[in-house]
């Protein structure tokens, strides 16, 4: 069988409107691209699952308790942007898959590194030991224990799941060969049944 030269978007069984806009919207806010396409049930499913996972990860990776010399650990400490000689925060590359909930805040806090706003929400830890408004990474990890890693994993998985959602918004559902064969056979069967009834 010769391979099809059509793009996945043109083969999709659903109306995708402008796949590029849908993809960008789906990346910016999980589920938004599907709402734009009128696929409301899937939009709601992606939004609830992905944002729920991400927000729970933010909750796990934070605390309102004091740490070191800081008045509190802060919330969302498992999500931050930091690529310097001391630390390459590679999980951020997965977390940024969630789009708008991650990108602007992490970049803003990275710019304001010495003076994070919102009690250090999504701010990189202090690289000069514990500061009054920002604890060090060692202090955060000591205070949060394994919840810091759990928060990191949850937010990473949320970002990676949103990449699947972006693909679905751009190209429609990935239909496996077995499902395709099943659907191809269904009309034939319906035609046969109709023919038998007529005869």
């Amino acid at each position: 069988m010769a391979p099809s030269k059509e793009s996945p978007a043109s083969q999709s069984p659903v109306q995708l409107k402008d796949p590029l806009i849908a993809g960008v919207l789906a990346w910016l806010i999980p589920g938004l691209g599907h709402f734009y396409q009128g696929r409301k049930a899937k939009g709601a499913l992606f939004s609830i699952c992905i944002m729920g996972t991400f927000l729970y990860g933010l909750y796990l990776g934070g605390s309102s308790q004091p740490a070191g010399g800081s008045k509190q650990v802060g919330w969302g400490r498992a999500v931050y942007f930091n690529f310097d000689e001391k630390e390459w925060r590679l999980p951020w590359l997965c977390q940024v898959g969630v789009g708008f909930p991650t990108l602007p805040m992490t970049l803003l806090q990275w710019k304001l590194r010495d003076n994070p706003v919102l009690d250090g929400f999504m701010a990189p830890p202090s690289s000069d030991g514990d500061q009054p408004n920002n604890p060090s990474l060692a202090t955060i990890q000591r205070r949060l224990s394994h919840y810091f890693e759990l928060g990191t994993v949850y937010t990473m998985i949320a970002g990676l799941l949103n990449i699947l959602a972006v693909y679905d918004a751009c190209c429609g559902p990935v239909i496996s060969d077995s499902d395709k064969n099943k659907k191809d056979k269904e009309p034939d069967k319906a035609e046969q049944d109709g023919g038998e009834k007529k005869s």
Partner: protein, 60 residues
């Protein structure tokens, strides 16, 4: 530490639902596929856990 296993449940549910949703358009098909994926993931994790548990028992 045993309680940490409960953190896997919401992840398995979300991963299987999102994965199934990228394969189907109909909500009924999505839920059926999600259930199959969740069972598959849970079985695979139990298998890996069993292997690692057996190795740790053999080594200690």
């Amino acid at each position: 530490m045993t309680n940490s296993f409960w953190f896997a449940l919401p992840l398995i549910a979300c991963v299987s639902l999102v994965y199934a949703a990228t394969r189907h358009e109909d909500v009924g098909d999505i839920l059926q596929h999600a259930l199959r994926v969740a069972i598959w993931i849970t079985g695979f994790m139990i298998l890996v856990f069993g292997i690692l548990f057996a190795i740790s028992k053999l080594v200690s």
